[in-house]
């Protein structure tokens, strides 16, 4: 798509965002509600000199994009819950080998096959803790079609900047929603280029420049415990320092975390949400304001790393109640309870593949604050 205004699906906005971010290889396997991303890119990638691979399963899809990334291209896959579960071993490999890739998970209602065509937000924790071993994750969560486009580009940027697999956690509603998309002029987009070992690079110690197959670097890439050179080394000291480094490169950088807040100044009650459920949550906040409730709203755009410090700074001592609205059995509410100690934290959870209505959230909040 040329820069301009369009009315498109969230999945298409994601696919087009990948094109603008410089993605040159997509490997995937059909799954509702993420299939449109693969379908669109199968047509679009060859137009811009890229390759589309329909692999035999999601395991192979995630493997292929890691291989492609080391061969020097930006690569992405897109899936939903069942496929995301299959990918976990390779995602763990990407964390350990510090491979920049983007994995899109358009969440549907689980467990298992669940309600395959209905939206949910049940991979809040899986997107952070799904793969085995110790690591820190970056997970972004869009609430609109436009934001899906923007965040896909940001996912690629963060993955290159920090050499990490970045997970874009969409949901079936955002993926299948048609909304306005404005594609800006590519000149106005900030696209981060990969830093290679042979470039002039000042090492900051945490994120190391990357190698590239076929350039004579004689790379030794392994998922086994290794030194920075790639040489296998199982000694506690070496592996400890690897884990500390791959975790602290994310922990040390606050610029990864983005949140959006409304009406917090005088608020004594706050609603927190993310993804598609943030939309009715915002509406409920406006509704309750009209009724005279001093209520504010926080939308998490980066859900991992969880914005501990930011939330502590934003939520002052006047706040006595926090409501966490989400389409799962109460996941982010646990994180909020861990972070915020001086207010009561309540869960407004919606299950069954539905998006909470403004009325429902308003009622739930009123039930508790007027109790």
């Amino acid at each position: 798509m040329l820069p301009g205004k369009y009315l498109v699906l969230g999945d298409i906005a994601c696919a087009e965002g990948a094109i603008y971010a410089g993605c040159k290889l997509f490997a995937g396997y059909p799954i509702t509600p993420a299939t449109e991303i693969a379908e669109y890119l199968s047509r679009r990638l060859p137009e811009v000199g890229g390759d589309f691979l329909q692999m035999e399963d999601e395991i192979a899809s995630s493997a292929a994009i890691i291989g492609a990334s080391w061969a020097g291209v930006k690569a992405m896959t897109a899936t939903s819950g069942p496929g995301f579960s299959l990918m976990q071993e390779n995602i763990s490999y990407a964390y350990h080998t510090e491979t920049p890739i983007v994995i899109v998970n358009v969440q549907r209602s689980g467990p298992s096959t669940g309600q395959a065509t209905y939206p949910a937000q049940q991979e809040f924790y899986q997107s952070r803790y799904g793969a085995h071993g110790d690591y820190e994750s970056i997970v972004l969560c869009p609430s609109s079609v436009q934001e899906t486009f923007d965040m896909t580009i940001r996912s690629f940027n963060l993955s290159e900047q920090y050499r990490i697999p970045v997970i874009l956690l969409m949901d079936g509603a955002i993926g299948h929603m048609r909304e306005k998309l404005v594609i800006p002029n590519p000149k106005n987009l900030n696209i981060i280029r990969r830093v290679y070992m042979d470039d002039n690079y000042t090492e900051n110690g945490l994120v190391l420049p990357m190698g590239k197959f076929g350039s004579g670097q004689k790379l030794l890439i392994t998922g086994s415990a290794h030194e920075i050179s790639g040489k296998r080394n199982y000694t506690p000291k070496v592996h400890q320092s690897t884990i500390k480094r791959i975790c602290s490169k994310i922990q040390a950088n606050n610029d990864i975390i983005e949140i959006e807040s409304f009406n917090l100044d005088d608020a004594n009650t706050i609603i927190i949400s993310y993804g598609v459920s943030a939309r009715p949550s915002y509406g409920a906040m406006l509704n309750l304001r009209k009724k005279g409730v001093k209520i504010g709203f926080i939308r998490l755009k980066t859900i991992w790393p969880f914005p501990d410090t930011l939330l502590r700074n934003l939520i002052n001592n006047n706040v006595h109640s926090i409501f966490v609205v989400e389409m799962n059995n109460g996941m982010a509410v646990r994180e909020v309870s861990r972070v915020i100690k001086n207010a009561q934290v309540f869960s407004i959870s919606v299950l069954g593949g539905i998006i909470p209505k403004i009325k429902y959230i308003t009622k739930k909040v009123e039930e508790i604050i007027y109790d």
Partner: protein, 263 residues
């Protein structure tokens, strides 16, 4: 030989068991690529998990990609498509390539993607201590089949043949000259090239099934009588044919599609 080691090895000696065929395969591969007129920087050696996956990584001083169990061919597919100039060689085992990774093996063969796969078949899971593999001959003793393997084994060459591989050969490590020649052919072959290399595992398979290296010699001897050659495996180049290659087709698609690209 010393020159060869200096040129292509990262460190030696290797850690394979006495009697293991992996050292011979490493040796044959170094000789094969030394005899070919190909830039060593264009090689990418991909492997999964298991004894055979240690042949390239860490011993070969080339780009080596030691990936997860069973997925070497899927990783190789991504790397090859992303950079079609790479000569991608996959070293895998019978458990890695035909057990957990069997799906990727047949689909790569079906695509006829220009990969070279050396599948080292030692009839057993060696690294984890001798468990039954999808290639273990029926009634063989392993640590998970102490009463004899109840399963029928795969004929891997037949499997990839029906999946569409365009170069298929089978050799044992006791045929190094034929193996080197065949490795060169496989690397130069345009399309999915597959060599099954039969290799002894005296530590895990031989020990449990009373096979000495001498027994292995007659087992893997194409001339030995049918009774002795109880694995009944034919050796040699089994398939060699031309067929459109996957990466070429992808490039053609790009040519057609790029005519209407807008950024």
């Amino acid at each position: 030989m010393i020159n060869l080691i200096k040129k292509y090895s990262r460190f030696l000696p290797h850690k394979f068991c006495p009697g293991c065929g992996n050292g011979i395969i490493l040796n044959c591969f170094m000789r094969a690529i030394d005899q070919l007129d190909i830039d060593p920087n264009s090689y990418l050696c991909v492997s999964g998990i298991g004894c055979s996956s240690w042949i390239p990584s860490p011993y070969l001083n080339l780009d080596t990609f030691h990936t997860v169990h069973g997925r070497a061919i899927a990783y190789a597919t991504g790397a090859k498509v992303a950079n079609k100039k790479l000569n991608v060689i996959v070293f895998t085992g019978d458990g890695d390539g035909a057990g957990i990774g069997g799906n990727h093996l047949i689909h790569a063969a079906r695509r006829n993607i220009n990969l070279t796969v050396f599948l080292i078949n030692n009839y057993i899971y060696g690294m984890t201590g001798g468990q039954m593999a999808p290639t273990t001959p029926k009634n063989s003793i392993t640590s998970t089949s102490v009463f004899g393997s109840p399963e029928r084994p795969f004929d891997l060459c037949d499997l990839v043949k029906s999946a569409g591989a365009t170069y298929i050969a089978r050799w044992s490590v006791f045929q190094p000259r034929q193996l080197i020649k065949s490795m060169k052919e496989a690397i130069l072959h345009k399309g999915f090239a597959f060599i099954e290399i039969l290799s002894p595992c005296p530590t895990e398979f031989g020990r449990r099934n009373q096979l000495s290296i001498k027994d292995y010699l007659s087992l893997f001897d194409p001339k030995s009588s049918r009774e002795k050659n109880k694995f009944k495996t034919p050796f040699g180049i089994l398939v060699k044919k031309k067929s459109p290659e996957f990466c070429d087709i992808l490039d053609q698609i790009k040519k057609i599609a790029s005519k209407k690209g807008d950024i």
